[in-house]
Amino acid sequence: MKKPLQLFLTFFKIGAFTLGGGYAMLSMVEKAVVDQKKWIPTDEFWDMIAVVQSLPGVFAVNTALYVGHRIAGRSGAFAAMLGAIIPSITIILLLATVFHEYRDQPIVERIFKGIRPCVVALILAPSLRMIKSAKVTLKTAIIPIATVFLIWWCKISPAYVILAAIAGSLIYALIIRRREITRLRDCETPSGPEIPKSRSQKEKEAKP
């Protein structure tokens, strides 16, 4: 069987059976692509995922595109992506037509009346967990607070807020990189082999 077709079927299966979004499917992708088909070595796969995680867009789609591209080029990427999204699209289309038909039924309305407040909680909880995992300090707490204020209170489009946040953190990341580069440069001067000596001496001087 040709590789793009195999990729399509692999990602179709994963797309059809993983509940809970992108990260849940990761172990299934690894099992299929690394363990069973042996298309990519494990370490290369996880290196790729590390890159994909920092990209914008749908995580599952990006994963399918990059894994597909690595295995079978552009057609592989497209086949894997289609495999990943076709099950979702089909299932949602079916459900949407049924839901439109029955949403005014009192039973359905009662069920969803119970579900709606739960959805609110399901959105609030992960955002707070995210703040915890991002190690927000008192100093940086201004960022999420300002974001909430701008979007919820001022009704500013999240798109602008994201753009501003990207600009801010890109500048921050560039400063970090600049610092690292200058630190490396400081180590290299004045001439190669002497660095460790002079550096350790500096540290000795600094200690007392």
């Binding site: 059809a16 059976f17 993983t18 809970g20 992108g22 590390a50 890159v51 920092s54 914008p56 867009g57 749908v58 995580f59 599952a60 789609v61 990006n62 595109l65 990427a77 099950p87 979702s88 699209i89 949602i92 289309l93 949407a96 037509t97 839901f99 439109h100 009662r110 969803f112 009346k113 119970g114 579900i115 709606r116 407040p117 739960c118 959805v119 609110v120 909680a121 399901l122 609030l124 909880a125 992960p126 955002s127 707070l128 703040i131 991002a134 927000v136 707490a141 960022i143 999420p144 974001t147 909430v148 979007i151 489009s157 999240p158 798109a159 807020v161 994201i162 946040a165 953190s169 970090i176």
Partner: protein
């Protein structure tokens, strides 16, 4: 016109959607509920519940659903495709840019800085869903069942990492019994 709007909205979300499905959810909410008013806030909550309970990425589910309700079958395909388009362009044309280690470290640090903002973004999406449409029995002299459901689901999700699908099913059962 509606097709063009759908296309533009979801391409934008595909470009700016950093930080996973929930981050996109707040972008989608702003465009679909606040800006274009294609949906009410209750319809949006229902849609999120359905997207959460069905397999596949939440954002693709949302795009398909929004596309379908606003412009039918064609709209659903268009919205999902538009959401994937920036990713396709990225993998086809600028793959090498991202695969270099130097740039990846930069991206990684940028994303780390972005994380607190994304958390705020998602929190804002949740906050703007707290209203009388989603909590119809809020107030004095009422049973406030919706408030109780919300608090219990929050505790279960935040402290015990309960399965979201299980929580949705349970609160659906509670709704069926209580209302």
């Amino acid at each position: 016109m509606i097709y063009l709007q759908l296309f533009w909205v979801f391409v934008k979300i595909g470009v700016l959607g950093f930080g996973g499905g929930y981050a996109m959810l707040s972008l989608i909410q702003h465009e679909v509920v606040d800006h274009y008013t294609w949906m009410t806030t209750t319809e949006f909550a229902d849609m999120v519940a359905i997207s959460q309970m069905t397999p596949g990425p939440i954002s693709i589910n949302l795009a398909t659903y929004v596309g379908y309700t606003t412009a039918g079958f064609g709209g659903s395909l268009l919205a999902s495709f538009a959401l994937c388009l920036p990713s396709i362009i990225m993998v086809y044309f600028i793959l090498k840019l991202f695969m270099s280690k130097k740039n990846n470290a930069l991206m990684d640090n940028t994303l780390k800085g972005l994380k607190p903002a994304i958390a705020g973004l998602i929190f804002a999406a949740g906050l703007s869903m707290i209203n009388l449409q989603n909590f119809p029995d809020y107030g004095k002299g009422q049973y406030n069942i919706s408030v109780i459901i919300c608090i219990l689901a929050f505790v279960a999700s935040y402290f015990f990492k309960a399965n979201p699908i299980l929580l949705i099913v349970l609160s659906g059962v509670v709704g069926l019994i209580a209302y």
